[in-house]
Amino acid sequence: MVAPVTPARRPSSATRWLAVLRTPVGACAGLALFAVLVLAVIAPMRWSVRANRTDVAAMLQGPSALHWAGTDNLGRDIFDRVLVATRLSVELALLATVIAVVTGLLLGTAGVILGRRAARFVSAVVNIVVAFPGLLLALFFAVIFGVGARGAVLAIGFAGAPAFARLAQTLVAGIEQRDFVAAARIAGVGRVRILLRHVLPNIAESLIVNAAIGAGGALLAFASLSFLGLGVQPPSYDWGRLLGDGLTGIYEQPIAALAPGIAVILAGLAFNLFGESLAKGIGLTATLGRVPLGRVRRRPVSAEPGEPAADAAVLDVADLVVTLPGHGAPIRPVRGVGFRIGRGEAVGLVGESGSGKSLTALAVTRLIEEPARVDAARLRFLGADLLTGTAGTHRRLLGTSLAMVFQDPTTSLNPTRRIGGQLAEVARQHGGLSRSAALALAIDRLRAVRVPAAARRAHQYPHEFSGGMRQRAMIGMGLMGRPTLIVADEPTTALDVTVQRQVLELLESVRRDDAVALLLISHDVAVVRQVCDRVLVMYAGRIVEDLPTAELATAARHPYTRALVAAVPDMHTDLDHPLATIPGRAPDPTRFPAGCAFAPRCPLATDRCRTAEPPLETDRQGRRVACWHADVPVGPSVTTAAGGGHE
């Protein structure tokens, strides 16, 4: 039995392209572009006779009811001529764009086919050519290819090629790094095939968007060349040619030059705006930021009766809800989380990806920003209510009393500033210390987190620190104030096991020495077990169990907790049996099942579990569990799920 195919979580590319047309700018630009293209097709068929009819009696007339934009020196209707010129202008611009894209693509992807050394040469050439302004190149090529429409098309096409080559190179470099290209190489797939099957489809979207914008540019460039007399030659005419002709009489009859000018602007705008809205639309759907928050109904926040706000608690959270805007309906990845951390207590928050554990940490430290929203019945830190007041009023309290340690120390330190300076900034901001006093404190704190040669290393930049040292520096930064709580979100996940132990030891000693409370978020039960007194187990946005760490292996009551503990192999795992697994997969935050979210994977699930959600109930020892069948022994089916093929 295998899980059925689930519908795509991300919309397919066809719907994404269509979605572009639903935005106001996209719709306008699409409509305008469509109008320009239709005009380009039908205008010469309908009006070319009128546009070419000379009328000596009506030479150089101003605008009138008969001739909306006046007539030229042969008495031809300028408005008709502008309409008819649409085809040639657009045609030539598109042709030039095609030349630019194809040439650029050939140059940009040459590296895939030719190998590393040739790629370096090609990219050097492109780098040099890209440094010249496009119009200068176009003029240069126009002289080479000769005056006339064909020469101008080639000139503008080749002048636009370097920009596309550079774009293609950058995109290709990004794709080539991905493992699927490496996998294809290992499988013996040829270079041309890799280019056609793996590289091009993955860069096509960006290229098309840029080609649309490029077409607008080519239109403009063509008008310029024709205007200068290097482009279309009489008797053919495009907008640039008409502009040039009209310019001679601009003081007597400005409309003759204005009409083709306006046409160039409108058509150019249509191409550019369409390209821009494509780019924006495609970029936007990657993130989930499109549903306005006004649609999210505000959750009724009710104070829970019977639970007085405990002043002894460092952090006191009740009924915490995090809402994110989603495609259809808002997503609620954290659904009513409540817990309390006492002074000097170490609490672990365990869960798999998508369980909402990191969002919970960000929410309680007020680090979640728009468009996500945080609601809670109670959110108190050291007795202060974090729900009322603005971020500014809490900044000082959080800045000095709360330390945050993130998973990736590379991104949480500013790469352009010395470590010591970054630490000192905290003390200067919140403690009002002088520059030298703050730096002295920073060095002292670095020493406290056992950074060797702290005085010297304080003057180094983050890149000169190893991952473990950076994480120590982050903890040291947290210790610049007088923290009562350290929130550590997967602090050791990016580190090696030996370094992981060092960082955990450090957190442990900081906690012991200064009675600092610790909220340790991790996917790894083994890590939490080593440091924490109490564990909160999260599943599908809720806490499903809250128990002392010591009881994790022996007295866990929720079937998920028990399965999670059993699934982690350790140095005593029986090698003759398959590893314990949890069948099925964790629910997606966009579609949590009704009832108990774990029911579809639970060996104890009954009809009640699938319809009614079990409340998180507190027992006499203060342990909490949310399960209708807590304490019911789980059969051997979950601990050694045969074959392990369910997922």
Binding site: H198, G467, Q500, L504, E505, H523, M571, T581, R585, E647
Partner: protein, 335 residues
């Protein structure tokens, strides 16, 4: 028979002056039908060694042999395949799962020459990795991390490999899924008789799948032997530190009282761009020159591997031939 042998392999990146030797003189044998675990910290060169075996990293010196012949790195026939760490990056998002697998199925083989044959083969492979054959039509974005990793495994198996290299294949997965992938791996390799080099930083995972274990530090293999010997009686101090760092149930062990030992165990991992002279581990070694002043030779003299489990440590126990398996020097003398 399919035995992968690394014979004095070195991999060096960059120029002569500003270079980085990621792998230095590695001797390692992956015997027929066995799973060899390769452990070490990030920057130790374990992934580079793996990539060298499939031609993704340049071998500067030494040879990589499959059954005594150089591993073919050109052409359609690729008997060494690799499964990558990140299943979100290793499958082309624009290709269906079936197409991704079919691409690796040999075309020149008469059994899978036609499109229909290849489709049947894709279905067979999906069933082999315990996935629904209907998934062949879906895109990677529709699959969970565990399912993707199975697809990646099926793709590697499609090439009919003799050796598969698994580079941290479970570290991007949730623990509940990790078990299913490891169980599958064990049964599959046993049934198909494929050898595997299994790279992981997680000793508990390596212990579960591997029959022998090699420990890598700073581009060198510092210990190598049967899994139970390396885990039960580690000879190199780095192996011992790795073992001690495995999160065991219960609280952290108390840090050492002696400040010198503590300073050494707290030391930073070595920078591969500036490897220390002598034994690469000496700046962090709890039994090295920083703790025991009489052990100055560690600073200058690179240790040999003539010790039990080939431990590259001056002070490891002497070799006992009965314990050694997969020793390249022995193998050559017997052949």
């Amino acid at each position: 028979m399919s035995e992968l042998e690394f014979d004095d392999v070195s991999v060096r990146y960059g120029t002569r002056r500003h270079g980085l030797t990621a792998v230095t003189g590695v001797h390692l044998v992956v015997p027929d039908g066995e799973i060899v675990g390769l452990v070490g910290e990030s920057g130790s060169g374990k992934s580079t060694l793996a990539r060298a075996a499939v031609g993704l990293a340049p071998v500067t010196s030494g040879r990589i042999l499959l059954d005594g012949r150089p591993v073919p790195l050109r052409g359609r026939r690729r008997p060494v395949q690799m499964v990558f760490q990140d299943p979100y990056s290793s499958l082309d998002p624009r290709m269906t799962v079936g197409a991704s697998i079919a691409e690796t199925v040999p075309r020149h083989d008469p059994a899978t020459g036609t499109m229909l044959d290849r489709q049947a083969e894709v279905i067979r492979l999906l069933e082999l990795v315990e996935l629904d054959p209907d998934l062949a039509r879906s895109f990677p974005a529709q699959l969970s991390g565990g399912q993707r990793q199975r697809v990646a495994l099926a793709r590697a198996l499609a090439a009919r490999p003799e050796v598969v290299i698994a580079d941290e294949i479970t570290s991007a997965l949730d623990v509940s899924v990790q078990g299913t992938v490891l169980n599958l791996l064990r049964t599959l390799l046993r049934d198909l008789g494929i050898s595997m080099l299994f790279i992981s930083h997680n000793l508990a995972v390596v212990r579960y799948v591997a029959t022998s274990i090699a420990v890598m530090y700073l581009g060198r293999i510092v210990e190598h032997g049967p899994a139970e010997a390396v885990l039960g009686d580690p000879q190199h101090p780095y192996s011992r530190d790795l073992l001690a760092a495995v999160p065991e149930s219960g609280h952290l062990p108390a840090p050492p009282d002696d400040p010198t030992v503590r300073a050494v165990t707290d030391a930073e991992p070595a920078d591969p761009h500036h490897p220390p002279a002598g034994c690469g581990y000496h700046p962090r070694c709890p039994i090295g020159p920083f703790v025991r002043p009489d052990r100055e030779r560690c600073r200058t003299e690179a240790p040999s591997t003539d010790h039990r489990q080939h431990a590259a440590c001056h002070y490891a126990a002497s070799a006992e031939p009965a314990l050694i398996i997969g020793d390249p020097t022995q193998r050559r003398s017997s052949s």
